[in-house]
């Protein structure tokens, strides 16, 4: 097991190297003069020269790469061309709102979706099942911003339960955080509830046909125990995969929801950086998200061994 974890961590090295090379080339291989791209149409030759020197663009490509990787290993991602603040600091500020929203969204989704899926499978081909499936189709098909504005209209403007927009960190008081985070999280959760409920239902349907479920019933075990102790754990592996991928997507930033609810997360940071051609920030974001994906995948793979003792690496 330990050997497996070590091997998996070692496998991160080639993956991240490829990502780093890609990120590096992203700027250098764009057609035209990178400095001109960065500086925009109105730049003077002096400004261009300053950008070239600050990015080391006059050196040969491989020298640039070594310098860049060297800085990267020291944890330096460069400075933003727009605000002149270090990229690490910018991301550091914006990651927490995104992370907190992502965690709350996934927790809410799992709490709602898994029981829904279990119920739908247990009551297969009854109205309960059809209702869950119908909700699931709706959750997939309504665009996020529509749900977001509907929630704001209903719960913030009409009912005045929650503030319309904004974000507060949990450190400012968990109630305050929750009041502002609940609507964006529910908005984001709709699609994940739909996805996870569907996956749970499918996986449970398969497991409920297994012989050991009949054995459990033959022991006189209660239905709830049959469903949650015997069936759900056996159905867990595909559900975990969906939850993990969902979480990774959420961490990558959710632009629309952050815009609708005015949350200072990394989704908007990325979009702003792209629009402003703030290359150091874009590079930092790509490195961060790919690193997170690799890490989350490792955690999901390890979680399988917890659910199924037959899986040994």
């Amino acid at each position: 097991m330990l050997g497996y974890i070590i091997r998996r961590i070692l496998a991160v090295i080639p993956v991240m190297t490829i990502v780093a090379i890609f990120v590096f080339l992203l700027l250098r291989l764009t057609p035209g003069d990178p400095a001109a791209i960065i500086a925009g149409d109105m730049a003077t030759p002096a400004q261009l020269e300053r950008i070239r020197t600050s990015l080391g663009l006059s050196d040969p490509l491989h020298v640039q790469f070594v310098t860049w990787v060297g800085l990267l290993l020291k944890g330096e991602l460069g400075t933003s061309l727009i605000s002149n603040t270090p990229v690490t600091q910018m991301i550091g500020q914006r990651i927490w709102p995104t992370f907190n929203i992502a965690v709350l969204t996934i927790v809410l989704s799992v709490l709602i979706a898994v029981p829904m899926g279990v119920l739908a499978a247990w009551r297969h081909r009854t109205w309960v099942d059809y209702a869950v499936m119908a909700f699931s189709v709706l959750g997939f098909s309504i665009p996020v911003f529509v749900i977001g504005y509907l929630f704001i209209q209903a719960f913030a403007i009409e009912l005045r339960w929650f503030p319309v927009q904004g974000y507060a960190a949990p450190s400012e008081g968990f109630g305050k955080f929750l009041a502002r985070a609940i609507l964006p999280c529910l908005t984001l959760a709709t699609i994940y509830v739909a996805l996870i409920a569907r996956m749970t239902r499918a996986s449970m349907l398969e497991v409920l046909g297994e012989d050991y479920i009949r054995t459990a019933r033959a022991k006189g075990v209660k239905e709830t125990v049959v469903l949650f102790r015997h069936a759900l754990r056996n159905a867990a592996v595909p559900i975990m995969t969906i939850i993990g991928t969902g979480f990774a997507l959420l961490i990558g930033g959710v632009v629309v929801t952050e815009s609708v609810f005015n949350i200072p997360g990394i989704g908007r940071l990325t979009v702003d950086a792209i629009l402003a051609r703030d290359y150091p920030v874009i590079q930092g974001m790509i490195l961060l998200t790919s690193g997170l994906y690799v890490f989350i995948n490792l955690v999901i793979d390890l979680s399988y061994t917890f659910f199924d003792p037959r899986i040994r690496y």
Binding site: G3, E210, Y212, T215, A216, R217, A218, K219, G220, D308
Partner: protein
């Protein structure tokens, strides 16, 4: 043959089923699945319910457990009496309380009947959690005690094990422990030994009998195997199409069956007496294997495990028109040999000659023209045909691959279906429209469509009912006479081997332990393992087809 002859007239009855009728849910007009089934089991008695697949044996047992699939089947009439109560009238809660306390059930497939992600000790303990309030220490003691009673070795270790760490026999012992821990009055055993090797089967049957004796349990034993019936039954009920057609004490039934159906069932039990020897064949071998070896797990940089030898120094040859059987239990390496010969897996060492060509080391590409010389029929006819392809498409795929003309291949497919005893319009139908026996005929037709020299039958009749089994064996024999094909017949069933094989190879742990004519192997086994196999064959002293003791040779 010594039958059980105990009388139970004085014993109190445990289960009384009267006129039980089960129908398809929501379809009262269709023929009932169970039609007025009545049977009675007394304390300490073993009642066997025999019949072919679809006769309603399992539905009867599931009705008693209250485990009929919801929305598919429902009991619409009759009574299931236990302790003066009608189980059909109990609510879900009351029915749950009956299970494991009054009635328990063990199932056919110990491989799948246990929850793979729960430790087996916890699975047994769950019965106590559900029905009793015991302190943890006492609970554990009870679980270990019942595990000892079912003769599991090293119970402390097995208590912590997961099902996949145990053998089939051990898992079935866990199932029995789980069923009997609360000492129910009735144990329902639904084909509990069908998936096990004969030697393991013998132990499990012995164990059930021992525990039954000890606790006075009544046993309802469901089986399709007349050999098992002869060994364990007090009373036998024969089922056909949802009805009980005949019931009698075991000896009466086997000596003097009254109903035609019972007679037919008994007559199709393959005899352990080998077929008469056929004249020695002319000409050389069409398949010869020498020094075949298959080793698993020896390579890989990180591999620290010792290599497993699945087959070791296996040699034999088959002449044209003859049948050679490979007999052995699970893990003996018989299927490994078949797969190596088919080159579905690559042998580690040794030669395989087909049609005078060494094929063991040919590349995938170079092998292609030789594939047609050797074809295989698999065990499970329900999974070996593509469900989305018509029979015709399955039949012509092979010939088309070797360049046959489509029209000619389709015409030939229709002829082949007639040859295997199916209507020629079956080409346009799909596998699900056929029964297991018919599908196995299709699988055979698919194999011979390639006009092979050798047909490998890997447990090809093991999943079939005895009467269908007899028909498929006859078909193979007939095809062999017509086409002169050589057959390599892989089986775990000595009775089947005796019926079809000229020669028998007995394998154990990857080695050939005995190789002789079928007559010699069965009548005069040399190796201790062969003798053990023969002795474990249930009902081996009874001549089922002639309703009498076997005349000792």
């Amino acid at each position: 043959m010594k039958f059980k002859t105990r009388s139970f007239d004085a014993a109190p009855s445990v289960l009384e089923i009267e006129d039980l009728t089960v129908q398809l849910a929501g379809n009262r007009t269709a023929a009932p699945v169970l039609d007025k089934v009545s049977l009675k089991i007394r304390q300490g008695e073993t009642v066997c319910l025999v019949g072919e697949s679809g006769s309603g044996k399992s539905v009867t047992s599931l009705s008693v457990m209250g485990l009929l699939p919801k929305g598919a089947l429902e009991a619409t009439g009759g009574r299931i009496g236990l302790e003066g109560r009608n189980l059909l009238e109990l609510g879900p809660q009351a029915m749950r309380e009956m299970r494991a306390q009054k009635i328990s059930m063990i199932f056919q497939e110990p491989m799948t009947a246990l929850n793979p992600v729960m430790r087996v000790g916890d699975q047994i303990g769950e019965v106590l959690d559900t029905h009793t309030r015991l302190p943890a220490r006492e609970k554990r003691a009870r679980v270990l005690d019942i595990m000892n009673q079912v003769h599991l070795p090293d119970v402390e270790r097995i208590h912590r094990s997961y099902p996949h760490q145990l053998s089939g026999g051990q898992r079935q012992r866990i199932m029995i422990a789980m069923a009997l821990i609360l000492e129910p009055q009735l144990l329902i055993a639904d084909e509990p030994t069908t998936a096990l090797d004969v030697t393991t089967q013998k132990q499990i049957l012995g164990l059930i009998a021992e525990l039954q004796e000890k606790h006075g349990t009544a046993v309802l034993f469901i089986t399709h195997d007349m050999g098992v019936v002869a060994e364990i039954a007090d009373t036998v009920h024969v089922m056909k199409l949802g009805r009980i057609v005949e019931h009698a004490p075991v000896e009466d039934l086997l000596r003097r069956p009254r109903e035609d159906y019972t007679k037919q069932l008994l007559q199709s039990v393959p005899s352990l007496t080998p077929r008469p020897a056929r004249p020695e064949p002319q000409g050389g071998a069409v398949l010869s294997v020498s020094g075949l070896q298959k080793t698993y797990g020896a390579h890989g940089v990180f591999a620290r495990r010792e290599a497993t030898r699945a087959a070791n120094d296996v040699s034999f040859s088959i002449p044209r028109g003859r049948t050679l059987g490979i007999v052995g239990e699970s893990g003996s390496g018989k299927s490994t040999v078949a797969r190596c010969i088919m080159r579905l897996i690559d042998p580690t060492e040794g030669d395989i000659r087909v049609a005078d060509r060494e094929i063991a080391r040919l590349s995938r590409h170079a092998l292609r023209p030789y594939r047609k010389h050797i074809q295989i029929v698999f065990q499970d006819p329900f999974r070996s045909l593509n469900p989305r392809w018509t029979i015709g498409r399955s039949l012509i795929e092979g010939p088309l691959n070797i360049g046959a003309d489509r029209k000619a291949a389709l015409k030939r497919a229709a002829e082949l279906l007639t040859l295997v005893g199916l209507p020629d319009d079956a080409v346009n139908r799909y596998p699900h429209q056929f029964s297991g026996g018919q599908r196995q005929r299709v699988a055979i037709a698919r194999a011979i469509a390639m006009e092979p020299d050798v047909l490998v039958a890997d447990e090809a009749v093991s999943a079939l009912d005895v009467s269908v089994q007899a028909q498929v064996l006859d078909l193979l024999d007939e095809l062999q006479k017509k086409l002169g094909i050589a057959i390599l017949f892989i089986t775990h069933d000595l009775r089947v081997a005796a019926q079809i094989c000229d020669e028998v190879v007995v394998m154990q742990h990857g080695h050939v332990v005995e190789h002789d004519t079928a007559a010699n192997v069965l009548a005069n086994p040399q190796h201790a393992y062969t003798r053990a196999l023969i002795e474990a064959a249930p009902g081996r002293l009874w001549d089922f087809a002639n309703f009498r003791e076997l005349k000792s040779a």
